[in-house]
């Protein structure tokens, strides 16, 4: 169920449920953390992909290790699928908390695959359920005269047109145990696989695809694999025997899906490896550390010349160390990076300034999460834009890039090093939790698209053997860069204002020259970088109805455009990619013909809107924000854009959904 409630108060919502369908299926699975939910969602996603679908999955989870609620959405479509859905067609679950959280979100008609084994559960006993939601649900049930129990819930769902299927997992597991001749508890984990098998079967996914997916997702030893295969067989058989095929079926594939299935952390990690990452220091933090852990596990990289190399990954004592250590490594000519999230980035701003002042090519991958403070560590937000652009005292050049989807992450992660080395400055690659937990099918990355630029390096011989003018004043602002340890490249560096030779200088004139030199590098970057890297335009490029957004909203934006086009509404979307230096000139041309102008952001205040206003002198006519910690979906965005199109929208529109 999707709601946009401007006057949403006290956890009640008052507007009607609105649905829009496109050619895809949306599948959701919910359950406690630690019960393997994410792994089986991957299994389902892979089975879809192997059935010729493109998939886009997202994962929502609490900042907790075991027990609290988590869920995964898998959307599959034979065509491009850029976004998750807030209103799944099918819900798979084994317990009542998931029913409470998701039943109201289901489409009509929707399908629930649940367990027949659980006895009646009193909803008041669900301790992990948020008080607000518990209260809402019980009130809903009471109004309908239904008991506040699991069966009351299912009854309510049925009254809303949802089909419920209770599966006798216990019996199926017993059968499995018997077949394998082992004790029942040995096969308990197979319940997950059975659930996927049953729901897949009902959706028309072939057993072959499921089996192939199984091998990839649960490789394991032969006996485990065998158990899983059998579980699958039993469950598929059961489904075939028990249920008619549903009206809802996986759409017909248009051919085989090729390419990769991965999430943004992996994509970024691959981009870094492709770019020749040599050193990454990090301090664990959600959601950034997944990338570093992946890199640590893949730190042996074959080279095309038959040799082997690979980055040194180091978990360090804190983010102050992470950023400064990466800086130290970068000084030697190593492609160096660190990756972090909100609180860690706050701690890095002093080091960032040093990198700016010393013109150090350093890449910081910043995975935004819900703030402020510790905030919502495992939820999404685009709340760190201002901090990425302005964080740190004083004024120094930096670049900020934001990728829009899993595919862009790869190329941008690699590109970031080129920018860093070409302009000799820190580059912040801005991502968010929504992207990291988005698992998508993407075309296989083309290494040949990468053209590596290491920037201007100092070559000894120009100067007498003594010191090198590391900060030589040049027209571009870029000085040939000597490396620490380079023979004949001896030089000084300092965070203090300095002369061309890195000597402390408080001379007012030298100060001005250095401030200007550093600033010129950004002008240079703004001139050289191609428009396509700065911003991308989608939809009807001549439309006046213009939507601007950035980062992970790209998926929702594309989805919404498709829906608008379907309704015959002509619109175009601008995805801002290079956020700093701000692509003002390129945007100017677009703004000139824009109206209404809409900004879409996943934060409270509309940080990009403020940035556009500061840079262009014109704010957007409508600001659409979402700040409940969950990503914007295409369907929700579509709805609000439609309202804007109809002139029914206010200047500030908040996207809300109490069931996600």
């Amino acid at each position: 169920m999707h709601v946009i409630l401007k006057n949403y108060q006290n956890g009640r919502h008052s507007q009607p449920i609105v649905k829009t369908r496109t050619e895809h299926i949306a599948w959701r699975i919910g359950g406690p953390q630690g019960s393997g939910i994410d792994r089986i969602a991957t299994l389902f996603a892979r089975a879809c992909a192997l059935s010729g679908q493109q998939v886009s999955c997202r994962r929502e989870y609490h900042s907790n290790i075991i027990g609290r609620h988590s869920y995964c959405d898998v959307s599959a479509s034979p065509g491009p699928i850029t976004c998750h859905s807030e209103s799944p067609d099918m819900l798979v679950t084994f317990e009542s908390e998931s029913l409470c959280r998701h039943l109201n979100a289901l489409t009509t008609p929707g399908y629930v695959i649940c367990s027949a084994d659980d006895g009646e559960v009193d909803l008041a006993s669900l301790s992990y359920l948020d008080a607000r939601l518990q209260h809402d649900i019980i009130e809903q049930l009471t109004t309908l005269g239904l008991p506040a129990t699991s069966s009351g819930l299912l009854e309510m769902a049925r009254q809303h047109g949802v089909h419920t299927f209770a599966i006798p997992y216990k019996a199926l597991l017993s059968r499995l145990a018997d077949e394998l001749g082992v004790a029942r508890q040995r096969v308990a984990a197979a319940i997950n696989i059975m659930a996927v098998a049953i729901s897949s079967s009902m959706l028309g996914i072939s057993r072959g695809s499921l089996e192939r997916a199984l091998e990839k997702v649960f490789p394991g030893q032969q006996d485990v694999l065998e158990m899983n295969r059998r579980a699958l067989a039993i469950a598929c058989q059961y489904a075939q025997d028990s249920f008619e095929p549903l009206e809802l079926q996986l759409p017909e594939p248009r051919g085989d899906t090729a390419g990769l299935l991965l999430n943004a952390s992996q994509s970024v990690a691959l981009g870094k490896l492709a770019a020749g990452l040599g050193f990454q220091s990090y301090y664990p933090i959600s959601p950034a550390s997944d990338e570093s852990v992946f890199l640590e596990a893949h730190n042996r990289v074959p080279l095309t010349n038959g040799e082997e190399s690979g980055p040194l990954l180091l978990q360090v004592e804190d983010e102050l160390a992470a950023v400064t250590m990466a800086c130290g490594a970068a000084l030697t000519g190593t492609r160096s990076a660190t990756a972090t999230s909100g609180p860690g980035f706050s701690l890095m701003t002093e080091g960032l300034g040093w990198a700016g002042m010393n013109e150090v090519p350093l890449v910081i991958t910043l995975y935004q999460r819900g703030g402020p403070s510790t905030g919502m560590a495992t939820r999404t937000e685009q709340g760190d834009l201002q901090s990425a652009i302005h964080g740190g005292h004083g004024e120094f050049p930096r670049m900020v890039l934001a990728s829009g989807d899993v595919e862009e992450c790869f190329y941008d992660a690699a590109q970031a090093f080129d920018y860093a080395e070409r302009y000799q400055l820190p580059v912040i690659h801005l991502l968010d939790k929504a992207l990291t937990s988005t698992l998508q099918t993407v075309p296989t990355f083309e290494m040949s698209r990468l053209q590596i630029d290491r920037g201007e390096l100092y070559r000894p011989g120009h100067e007498p053997a003594s010191a090198v003018p590391r900060f030589a004043l040049t027209d571009s602002g870029i000085s040939p860069r000597p490396l620490l340890g380079q023979a004949g490249g001896q030089h000084w560096l300092t965070g203090v204002e300095h002369s061309e030779y890195g000597q402390v200088s408080e001379d007012p004139v030298m100060r001005e020259q250095m401030m200007e030199k550093r600033a010129r590098k950004l002008l240079q970057a703004a001139q050289e970088i191609p428009t396509d890297e700065k911003l991308r335009l989608y939809g009807d490029i001549d439309a006046a109805f213009t939507i601007i957004s950035w980062g992970s909203n790209k998926g929702a934006l594309l989805d919404a455009l498709k829906r608008l086009a379907h309704e015959g509404i002509s619109a175009r979307a601008v995805q801002l990619r290079l956020l700093w230096p701000f692509p003002g000139e390129e945007l100017e041309a677009i703004l000139a013909t824009a109206g209404p102008l809409v900004m879409v952001e996943c934060n409270y205040s509309g940080q990009m809107n403020a940035l556009v206003k500061a840079q262009m002198g014109r704010g957007c006519d409508h600001l659409v924000v979402k700040y409940n910690g969950r990503p914007i979906s295409g369907e929700a965005l579509y709805q609000v854009l439609q309202q804007i199109h109809e002139g029914k929208a206010e200047a500030r529109m908040v996207l809300r959904n109490p069931y996600e």
Partner: protein, 318 residues
């Protein structure tokens, strides 16, 4: 241990930079600088094989005054900066120099954690009991109750014993020198640099401007040499468990001395701990041949050298 200076191709002068020195006259820092120049010359490495990282404070200006790669970092962060450079380019001789405020107050977390990595790095702490550059506040080595010239009140906080801290953090070479005894100091610096693991050298550094309690006279009465006293600091593979334990205890006892007599020299050298770079190489064999700074990223045409095909296969849909 300190090799003779004669066979080096460099003299102390080769390590002197032309930058203007703005330390106060009589400051102990001058002595440490001289000690560094001499030690570097004796090592026989050329200036472009040496990188010196400074913290922020009077002490932190040292890199400007040395002819070598010189990096003036951030207050309290010199150890991570230095560590990053060493890990990326292990061929560099990396020396970190900073104040007692820098290393024991704002940088204490790195002090402790750098001890966990037995990296071939030398850390020299300029121990003057005060924050020189910010005009004489108490540093963490000033004792409770002491009040130096520019403090409005006496010190109510206790002190940190840096020798103890280094020992408990896992530094495998721990020594102390005295800024006004340049000869012994330069030998200690040389030993610290030659030590294959992580070395901590505490230098008693009079600050005649702000620390009027611990001056030449005060130190002169107290300082004695561990070596002269026969202290043997080395734990090696041939030491037995009990012998090593005794050495550690001895060390801890020596570390407590202060009010009446102050030992200088090498407190401990533990040669039995695995070296960090060897650990890295064990899990990542390419590191030895191709440490980060030597990784070839692209060919002449800008084509990336990384071959990710295997990884792509792992992540393939089908």
């Amino acid at each position: 241990m300190a090799t003779e200076q004669s066979h080096s191709a460099f003299t102390a002068k080769d390590f002197q930079s032309q930058q203007i020195n703005d330390w106060c006259a009589g400051c102990g820092d001058h002595g440490i600088l001289r000690g560094l120049e001499r030690a570097l010359a004796a090592l026989g490495r050329s200036p472009d094989e040496v990188a010196v990282f400074g913290g922020i404070g009077c002490s932190g200006k040292t890199p400007y005054y040395l002819n070598s790669y010189g990096v003036h970092t951030l207050h309290g962060r010199l150890l991570p900066f230095a560590t990053g450079a060493k890990l990326a380019n292990p061929d560099l001789t990396v020396i970190a120099v900073g104040g007692d405020g820098d290393g024991l107050s704002i940088g204490a977390g790195h002090f402790v954690n750098v001890g966990r990595r037995n990296l071939d790095l030398t850390y020299i702490l300029f121990n003057n009991g005060v924050y020189g550059l910010t005009k004489g506040q108490a540093s963490p080595t000033l004792r409770q109750g002491e009040q130096t010239r520019s403090m409005p009140q006496s010190n109510i906080q206790g002190h940190i014993n840096p020798i103890m801290l280094a020992l408990s953090a896992g530094f495998t070479w721990v020594g102390r020198g005295y800024a006004y005894d340049v000869k012994s100091l330069s030998q200690l610096i040389q030993q610290a640099i030659e030590h294959p693991g992580i070395a901590y050298l505490d230098v008693l550094q009079p600050c005649p401007v702000y620390n009027d309690l611990h001056d030449k006279a005060w130190y002169g009465e107290r300082i004695y040499s561990l070596r002269a006293e026969g202290h043997d600091p080395v734990i090696s593979d041939s030491s037995d468990e009990q012998g090593s334990q005794e050495k550690r205890v001895q060390c801890l006892l020596k570390a407590q001395e202060w009010d009446e007599q102050i030992p200088v020299g090498v407190f401990l050298q533990d040669l039995t701990q695995p070296l960090f770079l060897e650990q890295i190489t064990r899990r990542q064999p390419s590191y030895a041949r191709m440490p980060p700074a030597r990784i070839a990223v692209a060919d002449a045409a800008g084509r990336p050298l990384s071959d990710l095909s295997q990884l792509f296969t792992e992540l393939e849909v089908s």
